[in-house]
Every structure is written in C-alpha cells, then in structure tokens.
Symmetry: D2
Subunit: 244 residues, 4 copies
C-alpha cells in the first residue's frame, strides 16, 4: 500500500497567521497536513486555501491543552496510510502585565498554552515518530525564553519553561533519530493577529521590519530537511531592524 | 508601639532541611520567623528548635500552591506589630523520568510547586514589602534552570520558569527598593531528605562534598544584608567537588 | 559594465575541509569566490577543483592575523567589477591543555586566530559591504563559546571572545542592512583535518555522526539567502548522535 | 617559624578605587596584602592608608600584562614566611567605540588587560595556591561578558574571554581545593575614576545608585570565607536602580 507522508501543525488560526503559513508550506512540499486549532471556521478557511493550491489537508478541531484531543490528532496523522514525519507546535499566547496585576489564572493559562501544551504535543509527536525512528518536531519559541523583561514576566516564565522542555527533548531523542528544534522568533510577525492588535506598531516598522510568514515557513521546512549529520537545535529569526 | 521585624520561610520540612536551617538562621538574627509547610508535626519540631535557641517563630500550615493560604501567611507576618523584611521560597520538588513516562499530572505538579508557587509567593511577598518600600525575597533555584538534561527535563522546565519569573520580578521591583534574588543550588544538600533518598550518593561524596545547610543559610542572610548600592540578583552555590 | 557578485572565504585549507566546501558551494551558486589561506598549494588545489566544476575563484595567500593582507583580500573582492555580497570567516585553531601547561604564546595565538582575526575580517568585510548597504558575514564558531570545559579553557576563552564580537557586530550593523551570523559547530567535522588528527574518534562515530561539509555549506548559503525580514543571528549545527 | 597569611591584589590605582578598597579590606582582616599596579605613587598612597589603619602591605610595581612581573609578585607573596591564600584580579580597562573606528591596537590592548592579564594572573596564583591545596582567586568581571552591546563590542569580546577563562579555571581547579570566582559588576563604581570620567552620569544617579567600594570588598571577602562545601563561582553585583 502506498504511504502518504504527513505533517501536524497545531496552533492554526487565521489564514494570514504562522500556523496557516506552515501548513501551506508543508502541503506544498507534498505532505498531507493535519491542521489543529480551536476555530473550525478558521481551520476550514486554511484547508480551503491549501486545497486551492493543490495540497492536501485534514482539519482536526483541537485544544492544545487537552491531551486526548492532541493524541487523536497524532493518531490520525500516523495511521491509515499516513506516515508522520514533521510536527510543528505553534501555539502562542502572549500577555503582558505588571506582576501585581497578574492573577493566578492568567499565569496558569499562559503556562498551559505555551509550555504544558508543548509537553503534550511533544509526547504525542515523539510517540508516533519513534515508530519510524525519524522525524522532526519544531517549536515556535520567543526571545522571552532567554530574558525576562517586565511587563512580560509571566510570558517569559512560560516560554522559558518551553525552551527547557524542548532542549531536554532534543537531548533525549536525538540519539533515536528524532530532530527537536526550538526556533526563537524575535520581533513582530507580519500577520493578521499583529495587524489587528498592534496597528500602530506595525505601521511604524520599516520595510522588511516584520517577520515574514513565508520566510519563517521556509526556515521550518529547511530544518526538517537537514541531514542527521548536521542538525540545528536552536536558532533565532528576527527582522534586520529589530533591536536585540 | 514597638515593631518586630519578621521573616517568612515557605517550604519548611524536617529539622535537617534547608527550610528549617533558614528559619533558624533568620531567627538567630533577631527576626520573628513565620514558617510555612504542609506538615504540622515537622513545623512544630522546627519551631521548638527555634524556641530552644531563644528565637521566635510562628508556624502556619501552608500549601504553597494555594493562594489564600500563602496570602494569610504573609498577612500574619506583616501585621499586628510585625514588619516583614525577608521572605524565602524554598519549596522544591525534584523529579526525574524519561519524557514518555512522565504524565501530565507529574509535569503539572512539578510546575505548580516549583514555579506557580513561586509566583504566588512573590506576589504576596511583594504586596507586603511594597508597603515599606524595602525588603528581600530569595528563591531557592537549581542548576536545572540553566540547562535541561534528561531525565530531568520536566524538572528543568519548571525551574527554568521559576528563574525567568524571579529575573522579571527582580527587574520590576528593584527600582522600588525590593531585592529579589535567585540562588542556584548545584549539588546535593546535606540534609535529611537527601540522606533518606540517596544514601549511596551521599556516602560516595568527599568531605565537604555536600551543600552545607548552615552555609547556605548564612549566604541567604548575607544577601538580605546587602546594601541597596550593591545587590546580587543571581548566584550559584555548589560543593568544591561538584562537576559543573 | 557587468558586475560579478563575489564572496570571500578566509581559512581555506585542504579540499576536504570546511573552507574549501564553502568556496565550492558559493561558486556553484554563481559567485566569484576569493579564497584566502596560508598554503598556496592547498589554495591552488581548491581553486582547481572549483574550476573543474565550472566555477570561478581567485586565490589570495592570506594570513588572517595580518590586517594588510586581509584588507587586500577584500579590496580585490569588491573592485574591478566584483561586488562583494558574502564573507565567511572559517579560521579555526583548536587546542587543549591543562591551564598550567598552557603558555602565554599558545593562549595568545589561539586568540589571534580565533578572535582577533575575526575582528580584522569583520572590519574589512563590513567596510566593503557598507558601500552597498547589504551583504552577509558568517563566522564559524564553536560550542566552546558557550561553556568553558577543561582542558579546552584557552580555546573557550578565544571562541567566547569571538562570539561576543560577532554578537556586537550583528547588533551594530543589522540596521544598516548587513547580516552578521555566528554558527556554532558542535561536533567533529567529517574532513581531512579531523581524519588526520583523530582517526580513532572518527571511526568510533555512528553513520551520520560527523558534521557533513556539504550540509554545513548549504546552511551558510541559506543564511545568506534569508530575506532581511527574517534573519538568523545564531544557530547551532551538530550530528544527531552528539551529546550536548 | 610563624607564617603570615597573605593576599595579592593586582590592579590597584587610586585610593578611591576598587583595587585599593580590596587591599584595605583584606589587610583589615589580617592578611598581608601585596598590591600591584603601574603607578608607584598611587601604590604608595594606598599602602600608606593601609599602614595608618594598622594593616600590612607591600607594594610591587606590576604591569599585569608582563608575565615576569606578575610571577615575581606572586613569588613574593608566597615565600619568606608569607602564605598566599587570596588573590584578586581587578585590572579593568573599559572602552567604547563603533567597530569601524576601533583599531587593532585598541582591540588587542583591551584583550591584553582584561583577558590575557587574567590568564597570567590565574596561572601564577594557582601555581602558588596549589602548593597548599587551598585558596581563592577572584576576578572582577562585567555585564559585558554576558551580552555584547555596541559601542562596547570590543570590551565585551575581552570580558567574555575572561569569563570563559575563569569558568574553565573554576572547573579545573575546584577539585584541587582552589576556589575561582567571577564577580560581575553591573553599574558604575562610586570611585575616583568614575567621578573623573563620568561626572554627569554620577550626579544623575539616585542615592545608592552607584556600586559601593566597601560593599564590593566585603563581598569579595565573604567569597573567600565560603566553606568548601558551599562555594559560589559566579555572582552579580549592581545598584538597586540599575536597569539590567
């Protein structure tokens, strides 16, 4: 029986968002992409876009913080003729507030979406990839994982946890042929969410001053294509004009 | 009315443990110490030891992950004639396991005790200390906050989150006169818990090969005594024989 | 007049070495490559290999620690119809010894080749690239730039200096359109020098256990091709089987 | 014969400078202090101050970049009845300039004074301390060792090299009983040099906004007094009001 190579992208939202861009890229390279996210409407829109480009995808409404849902997503992607080879965790909920104005629910939710979800995702992805002893898991990280700056303290605590998780996973599973990568996005993404939330910040940027969705997606794909002799486990991406 | 300077130590367990050693040290320096922990019996034993040395303490049964309890602990320590000047978060639950054998409850509990508890503690400590615009908050951290090594990946994710939290707090509150410190303990503590859990590891160590409780406590006290002109925000402590 | 795009690679030695692999890659992408190194014989061999592949190169005998020579190399590469767009510093002299058995000449030479040479190279590269307000400068770094482990202390001091230099350059010149990158090679390169110096280490490695020359070169080229919206300033490369 | 415990401080300049403060502190604790620096006049003034306080010192005109001179300094401090137990490297030449305006002499001199001098110092200090299998070596470091920010790129390259050197030394010699520490000073020192060079910066600072000489010296002494069970290898010191 013919086997169809597949990918999972979790954290797919608007069409002009990173999750969607990753899904489009992976499908354009011939993978059947299982796209997970909470909004059926957004997933349908992204899937339709992939279909129009001649690609293949399956949408799976998925809350990244619910283990059974993520487990199902991966089981679909690595069964019935599909063979998983690439998984990208792109859930990202940013938040900023003075510490004394941050409540425990906000602190916890940030961690659940940015770090605990990454743990669930990693376990399920690796459980499937280990069956073939190869494959790639890529996490979208943030500069906040390297330095905690108020008022992003809680966000930084969550992203630092994610970075450590990914680093430990990379060390544990590299010898088994699984490539786990932490990509540090530093800057504002040129996408729908940023345009809606920070219109003035967006318009203040120079040309090429925003992270380009397709360029990020190309990078993720290149990471997946690295030979086992020469793997990257962490890299940063930022616009030329971004102070760092 | 006479004001009595006070300290809070959360994470007080056996007499030969770091929480108890911190409480003894702070009380020996003249502070009334509010000791928090989950075991009434252990707290009573520590309080009795402090009393015998001529010190003062109040025990408050406290689960570090329950905000109301921590809030109460701090309200007691900064009212009715007590003026809080020092708080130490010493809750530490270590854990190691391969990632695929770690379940979400274990991953979550590690984070709750090591990181979320630190957030609750920090908010309550700073809320009280801000009233006087001075004081010190010290966190017991771990080397795992710097590097994630399997099978300590989940522990590292929790401790990395804590480190980021503390760093952000230090940056946010230093200008307001609050000194927040992350102490990285690297090595095995010469205490009851280690002796019970790792007897062979303990006996394999050279003389001075274990972190000494009193020496750690002296260091925490020195940090509290630093003048505002010359503060430490992060330091490590390890036995001379510890590889790092 | 027609302008020919050019690259500089400094630190070109044996054909089965990284400098040569970079030169071959860049020439295969249509750049005229100016190759610098100390051995005329080796440069000639590399140049001949490029010629046979249909590429173009010019060899310039260059000691990376002599500013005038490096200056000349770059002047040749950005004049007379050549337009420099890419420069790679690949000088690398590794060394290990107990500190008390390291003399000041060894310590100094390590720094001169790994760090001071990088400074000279960066100044000359950027002086030329600034004329066009674009271009890429890539440095071959090492894991030792992140952690100093005996007996590699002196090597680490040199490589840490290089990393800081590159980071500062990246920050200073990114807003001017110059992309400066630090690539951390972690592992043994599958090249002539390693095979000659560590034959047993080489033969102990698993398949894909050595850094592949062509894969590294492909990565450098990808870095050069990144759009200004989405630049990497640091990334690591290591074989899947390398402990880190 | 009675043995007199001794210390070496290299990088002693004006009386209101860190080198002098360290020498005063160490002598007040009962050590005979060998003070090294390039200005005989300044050394005499510091020595006179120590004498007036009832302490003991010997001045040795020393260029930290000349190995024979440093060797002599340490031989004096560990012979003829003196037993070396503590050595502090306090040479610090800061510099800032755009990269293209930095010449190779400046880049080299920065490295020689901040890093190569530290290597010479470490070798000589450890050679003497190894005779007793105990003792402390403390280096004055800078935040620039952690992050390179223009226009401090060259300074950062030098200080990053020093940090790696110290870290490697700490790892190599801790098992032999030698305690090597890197202290990161972050902020402006409240001393003569700062007052002369940055008068406006100084006067803009809040109360306690400058690093206090005596507080730094107390910290160095505390590091020396740490028991072998509980050593610090790196710590930072900064005024409460310093952004970091």
């Amino acid at each position: 029986m013919h086997t169809i190579p597949s990918a999972v992208v979790l954290g797919v939202g608007p069409e002009q968002g990173l999750g969607a861009a990753l899904a489009r890229k992976f499908s354009s390279e011939g993978l059947h992409v299982f796209i997970g996210g909470r909004s059926k409407k957004k997933l349908e829109s992204v899937a339709e876009g992939i279909r129009k480009r001649g690609g293949q995808s399956t949408l799976v409404i998925t809350d990244a913080t619910v283990e059974q849902q993520v487990c199902l997503l991966f089981e679909m992607a690595n069964n019935n003729g599909y063979k998983l080879e690439l998984a990208a965790y792109n859930v990202d909920s940013i938040f900023s507030a003075p510490l004394l104005e941050t409540d425990i629910e906000q602190f916890t939710q940030l961690w659940q979406q940015n770090c605990m979800g990454g743990f669930i995702f990693g376990k399920q992805a690796i459980s499937q990839l280990c069956k073939h002893k190869q494959g790639t898991v890529i996490y979208t990280g943030a500069t906040a994982s390297l330095r905690a700056k108020p008022p992003f303290t809680s966000f930084s605590a969550a992203k630092s946890g994610l970075r450590a998780l990914v680093q430990g996973m990379a060390r544990e599973f590299a010898p088994q042929g699984i490539h786990v990568v932490h990509v540090i996005l530093d800057g504002v993404i040129d996408g729908e969410r940023s345009r809606a939330n920070f219109p003035e910040l967006i318009s203040s940027k120079a040309e090429n001053g925003l992270l380009n969705l397709e360029a990020i997606a190309d990078t993720y794909w290149s990471l997946h294509r690295q030979p086992a002799s020469t793997w990257t486990h962490e890299m940063d991406l930022r616009p030329f004009s971004e102070a760092f």
